[in-house]
Symmetry: C2
Subunit: 353 residues, 2 copies
C-alpha cells in the first residue's frame, strides 16, 4: 500500500452516476485528505462535476470509457458486454493491477459481484465471496454477513464468514477481539440446521485469538447488538436485512402520518423537531451505506444505487478504512492461524455465477 | 362444529398463567358472545380468576390438572412429562376428541408444536405443519408462514404452505382470492434456491381459484404489503419475523430517548401525545398476537408467552375466527382441488421432533 489511499471509482454506477459519485468523493476527501482517486467513466460528465470540486480535482485522475453497466443488466450480460471495457470493470481491474487499493461502485450488485469475482478471484482458503454490511444497533454498530453473495453453505463456509467478518469489525470498530454470533432460530429443540450446529462446534474449537464466539443469535438479537459480528448464509442474511429495512421504512411512514394528522400533533412536531432530526439521523440508511465484498484478492465496496452524495461518501469512507487499517492482511493472518482447515468442501451454491 | 365456538384454553401457559389467560378470555368473550370455554389447569387458580369475571364463568368449564409444561421444557421433556396429563396436552386433546373446536396456549412453542403434532397428526396431503402469523403492513395485514415449525423443504412443501396460508388469509381478511408471494432474495441472476424456483413454477401451473400467485417478494416487500400471503420455509420466515420485531423495538427505544432528551422535545411529546398513542397502537405487538399452527387435524393457536390479557384476547379472537369461518374445510377443499400432487417427497427436515 502506498502512503496515500488510492480509491478507484466507477463514476457511472448507480441511479445518478457522476452527479452523485463525484460530489460524494469530494465529501469523503474532506474527512480523509490522504485519499486520491481514479475515476472511470464518461470523461465529459466526470470533468463537468470535477470542475465544481477543485480540491478533489487535484487528487483525481480520469480514465475515459463509453461503456457503463446498467442497473438492469444481468450479471452474465454485464460480463459479456462490460468485461475489460466498462467503468465498473476498469475500477475493479485497477485494484487487481495494484494501481488502486480499493474499488467503490454504486452499480448493480449482481454485476459488480460477478466482475469482482472474475477479475480478482477468491483468497486462498476461501471458496465463496460474501457481502458484509454495517448494521446500526442499540449498542453501536455491528457487521452482518453474508447478505446474499452465496446461498447456503456448510460449516466451513460459515467459519470463513466468521473469520472475514471479525477482521472487518476489528478494522472498522477498532476492536481487539470482536464477538461473533451465528444467526439461528430458537423455536425448536435442536436449534437450526446441521451446518449451523457444526459451525458452532468449529468456532468453539477454534477458540480464535482474533474473535470471541458467543453462540447463537436470533433475528431480534441483531438490533440489540448481541454480537459485534453476525454470521449467516446469504439467503437468510439478505432476508434479515431487507425485513429490517422494510420495518424501519414502515414505521417512519406511520410516524410521518401520525405527526401531520391534527394541529396538536403538528405543534408537537415543531417543538420536538430536533428530537425527530436526531431520530432520522440514527435511522439514516446513508450512514450504513457500503456493502463490502469479502473473500476476494482486493477490496470492493458496493454503495446503494439510489443513494445521495452523502451516502456515497460513507461508502467511500468504508473503503478508505478497509485499506488504511489493512483488512486483507488481517483476514489472511486469521486464515493462516486457523491452519489449512478453512476452505473445506465447496458445497455452497453460488448465487452469482 | 356446534353452534357455539368452543375454545379450549391451556390456563397454565405463558409467563403469567391463569392471571392473563382468564382475563384475556373474558375480553374476547365480550367481542364474541357466542364462545364457550374449556379451561385446563390448576382449578384453584382458575376459579379465583373466574370469580372476577362472572360472564366468562357462566360459559366456562374447568378441568383440573396439577401438571403444567414449563416455558423452559424442551419438546421431548414436555412430551415425556406432560403427555395425557398436562394442561397443554389436555387442551389439544379436547380438540382431537371433538369437545372443543380450537385450542389456545401461551405455553412454549416447541412443546406446543410437538404435542399438537403428536396428538392431532397432520392433515392428509400435508407432511409438515407450519406456524403462520398476522403481519401488520402499510396496506393492511398479511399472513406470513412458516415462522419456524419446519426448517427447509422442497417445492411441494412451499406449495402446501401457499394453500394453507391463503385459506387462512381468506378466512381472516374475508378475501375471495388472496395474493400469494414467495419470499426470495433479489441479489443474484437466478433468484433464490432451486426449490423456490420450482415452487414458483408449481404455483403458476396450479393457477388456483383459491389464490393468485404474484411471484417473488423480497424481505422489504412484506412490510409494504406486497402480497396478502408471504410463503417461506421456516428458517428464513423466523429470521424475517424476528429481524422486523427487533427493528421495531429498536426504533421505539430511539424514539423514547429522543422525546425525553430536552424540554422542547418533552413539550412536543405532550402536544403530540395522541399521535404517539396511535403510532403505538399501530406497532402494538399484542394486536398481531396469535401464531396459528397449520396443517394439523385441528386448529391450535399459540399466544406470545409474555403477553398481556389484551394480547391473549387477540390470540383467542384469531382462534375464534378460524373456527367460525371454517379454516380447515377451506384448506381441505383447496388441497383436494390441487389433486394428489400435494404431499410430495418428505424432504423437509423437521424442526420439532
Amino acid at each position: 500500500m502506498s502512503q496515500k489511499v488510492r480509491i478507484a471509482l466507477d463514476a457511472m454506477g448507480g441511479d445518478f452516476g457522476a452527479s452523485v459519485v463525484v460530489p460524494g468523493a469530494a465529501i469523503s476527501l474532506t474527512r480523509h485528505p490522504d485519499s486520491e482517486f481514479l475515476l472511470f467513466g464518461d470523461s465529459a460528465l466526470i470533468n463537468k462535476q470535477l470542475d465544481l470540486h477543485p480540491a478533489l480535482q487535484k487528487v483525481s485522475r480520469v480514465f475515459h470509457t463509453d461503456i457503463a453497466v446498467s442497473m438492469h443488466d444481468k450479471p452474465s450480460q454485464a460480463l459479456r458486454r462490460g468485461r475489460k471495457v466498462s467503468s465498473m470493470w476498469l475500477a475493479i481491474e485497477a485494484v487487481k493491477k495494484g494501481e488502486a487499493d480499493v474499488a467503490v461502485s454504486a452499480g448493480n450488485t449482481g454485476a459488480l459481484m460477478a466482475m469482482a469475482r472474475f477479475c480478482l478471484r477468491t483468497l486462498p482458503g476461501i471458496d465463496r465471496p460474501a457481502i458484509a454490511a454495517i448494521w446500526p444497533t442499540i449498542r453501536g454498530d455491528s457487521v452482518v454477513l453474508d447478505l446474499g453473495a452465496t446461498i447456503g453453505g456448510d460449516a466451513e463456509h460459515l467459519k470463513a464468514l466468521a473469520v472475514m467478518g471479525s477482521a472487518m469489525a476489528s478494522v472498522l470498530f477498532d476492536l481487539e477481539r470482536p464477538t461473533v454470533g451465528l444467526l439461528n432460530i430458537g423455536v425448536e429443540e435442536i436449534k437450526g440446521g446441521e451446518e449451523i450446529r457444526a459451525a458452532a462446534e468449529l468456532l468453539r474449537e477454534m477458540n480464535s485469538p482474533q474473535f470471541e464466539f458467543i453462540g447463537f443469535v436470533e433475528g431480534d438479537g441483531i438490533g440489540k447488538g448481541a454480537a459485534d459480528v453476525i454470521v449467516s448464509e446469504g439467503f437468510s442474511g439478505n432476508i434479515a436485512l431487507k425485513a429490517a429495512e422494510g420495518t424501519a421504512r414502515q414505521i417512519s411512514e406511520y410516524l410521518k402520518a401520525a405527526m401531520s394528522r391534527t394541529w396538536r400533533s403538528k405543534i408537537g412536531y415543531l417543538f420536538a423537531r430536533e428530537a425527530f432530526r436526531s431520530l432520522r439521523d440514527k435511522m439514516d440508511p446513508n450512514k450504513s451505506n457500503g456493502g463490502v465484498f469479502l473473500g476476494l484478492n482486493g477490496v470492493v465496496v458496493k454503495s446503494h444505487g439510489g443513494t445521495s452524495a452523502d451516502g456515497f461518501a460513507y461508502a467511500v469512507d468504508v473503503g478508505y478504512d478497509m485499506v488504511r487499517y489493512d483488512l486483507l492482511n488481517k483476514i489472511n493472518q486469521t486464515l493462516n492461524r486457523g491452519g489449512g482447515a478453512l476452505g473445506g468442501t465447496p458445497t455452497a451454491r453460488e448465487a452469482v455465477s
